[in-house]
């Protein structure tokens, strides 16, 4: 337990100290929220546009922090042999992974709080009516996307290529799944592609919980699809995750 807390603290220190990563994954969704919120006006889904965007960008923030950020971090740490070095210490691998996931959850929770505070300050969006459901969404979202992030890190071969690969996945996914705003005017086949991607279900969940004040537990389909994607991430991670650099 002491080791776990020590490692969560270490992960937090490393995350916030490396400005590039923190800006890229933490600040970028906030920035997009302000930009898009200033452009869209009127109503979306029968609610003010800024609220709909907040719900959408909550999903994007999760994809950035838990999926993109974690995958890139893990590939770099693997290729720089930081993971290999950690393996020689008494820190158990299970504790390391648990601390990494917890640290990711902490960052995404802070991101969520920052989004709501920013929305309130800039656009006057309300705080969520169902705080417990939003909290559950944050936990489910960060765990499922982090599992996929760990799995993806096992599929990426080089440190240099990691952020290109990750962006190539995250940006189109965000575009197709409504994380940058509604997709109901998209061509049918684009929406069909979006319908199989996990981010779609996180955005749906976010819309239901925040915009429509539904309970988290009433959203069985979204929860099920997210868990399935998370499980897929765990399976890929189990077979593909490596502690050591890929030998040149």
């Amino acid at each position: 337990m002491k080791l776990y807390l020590h490692q969560v603290k270490t992960e937090q220190l490393v995350y916030w100290r490396s400005r590039e990563a923190a800006v890229f994954t933490f600040i970028f969704p906030l920035l997009l929220f302000v930009l898009l919120g200033s452009v869209y006006s009127g109503h979306i889904y029968g609610v003010p546009a800024s609220q709909a965007l907040l719900a959408a960008l909550l999903g994007y923030g999760c994809a950035m922090v838990a999926f993109a950020g974690l995958a890139i971090t893990l590939v770099l740490r693997r290729e720089q042999a930081i993971l290999k070095r950690l393996r020689a210490t008494p820190l158990p691998p299970v504790t390391y992974v648990a601390a990494l996931l917890s640290s990711t959850l902490v960052v995404f929770a802070l991101e969520t709080v920052a989004l709501f505070l920013l929305g309130r300050a800039v656009f006057g969006t309300p705080f969520p009516a169902r705080v417990g459901s939003v909290a559950l969404l944050v936990v489910l979202g960060s765990l499922c996307f982090a599992a996929m992030g760990v799995g993806l890190s096992g599929l990426i071969r080089s440190g240099e290529g990691s952020s290109a690969v990750v962006n190539l996945i995250v940006l189109p996914m965000a575009f197709l799944t409504g994380a940058f705003g509604p997709t109901h005017h998209y061509p049918r086949f684009l929406r069909a592609v979006g319908d199989v991607l996990p981010l779609k279900y996180l955005v749906d969940l976010s819309n239901a919980v925040y915009l429509h004040k539904h309970s988290f537990w009433s959203q069985g389909t979204a929860i099920g699809v997210l868990l399935a994607w998370g499980a897929a991430g765990v399976v890929v991670a189990f077979f593909k995750f490596r502690w050591e650099p890929r030998e040149a």
């Binding site: 080791l3 020590h6 490692q7 270490t10 220190l13 490393v14 100290r17 490396s18 400005r19 720089q80 042999a81 930081i82 290999k84 070095r85 393996r87 020689a88 210490t89 008494p90 820190l91 158990p92 050591e244």
Partner: protein, 282 residues
């Protein structure tokens, strides 16, 4: 008491046999050098002992543990300096040491370790601002902060300038003073000669010679006599230098000649090593 004991160790990567039946023991408190050209199997051997790789065959005991099942207790007692490993660039030297100290049950005092590896004036510097030599000292500090009994150093001075190498040697000597057992791999002969109590020379996955640097160089008691005659270099290798030298000089005196550039020397570890390694090409 042996810190490390290896018998019949074998490891292949596909068709490539990296380690082909290696035996050696390392005593507690000993600095042991594993010497050999690139690809001789040094890193594979060390990584098996560190618990990174499984072996195909053989018996291995490291501090009484089988490194294929490396428990917490084993990890508590070893320190590892890898050939090419980085650390978080944005943390400071002190933070980095403190992170690693937190992994061990009984770590050494962080500031003491930073002092020991000579980074006291860089304590609050970010890792990314350190020079190459300073980074290697950080590597060593991080490996020592858990107060290990056994330290693995994989080519600790590769790429160092001469001054940095000498500083690193001093640090490795200080490990011996602390009573640590050290397993050092290197392809620099002078390094092994300077630091190691005993040396094993690996070639193509097998140990071709093992002993103290002195035993290796005087093992067959051969001496080399060199001189020039009619502008030609002559080399005589002999185990009876007194007799051979007497005959040579008597003959030269009788002819009224001078043996130009006469030289009698014992082979250095380098000569022995190169001779051992060269046999491979034949």
């Amino acid at each position: 008491m042996n810190a490390i004991s290896v018998r019949g160790l074998r490891k292949a990567y596909g068709p490539l046999e990296a380690v082909r039946g290696v035996d050696f023991d390392i005593e507690e408190g000993e600095v042991f050098g594993l010497l050999g050209p690139n690809g001789a199997g040094k890193t594979t051997t060390v990584e098996i002992l560190e618990g990174y790789r499984r072996r195909d065959a053989g018996e291995v005991s490291v501090l009484g543990h089988d490194p294929e099942r490396p428990g917490r207790d084993f990890r508590e007692r070893i320190g590892v300096v890898l050939q090419q490993a980085q650390l978080w660039p944005t943390l400071t030297v002190r933070e980095t040491h403190a992170v690693f100290a937190g992994y061990y049950a009984k770590p050494r005092d962080v500031d003491e370790v930073i002092e020991l590896v000579g980074l006291a004036d860089k304590r609050d510097a970010r890792v990314k601002t350190l020079s190459g030599g300073q980074k290697r000292r950080l590597d060593l500090g991080v490996a020592l902060v858990g107060d290990p009994d056994l330290v693995f150093l994989d080519e600790p001075t590769t790429g160092f300038d001469p001054a940095a190498r000498r500083a690193a040697w001093e640090m490795i000597r200080s490990l011996r003073a602390l009573g640590k057992t050290v397993l050092l791999t290197t392809h620099y002969l002078d390094e092994a000669e300077q630091l190691a109590d005993r040396v094993a020379v690996l070639r193509e996955g097998q140990i071709v010679r093992i002993g103290t640097p002195r035993e290796l160089t005087t093992g067959d008691n051969e001496v080399e006599i060199r001189y020039r005659r009619n502008g030609e270099e002559a080399v005589v290798r002999t185990a009876e230098p007194t007799r051979v030298l007497h005959e040579l000089t008597s003959a030269a005196l009788a002819r009224g000649e001078e043996l130009e550039r006469l030289e009698v020397r014992r082979p250095t570890l380098e000569d022995v090593y190169l001779a051992l390694v060269d046999e491979a090409d034949e």
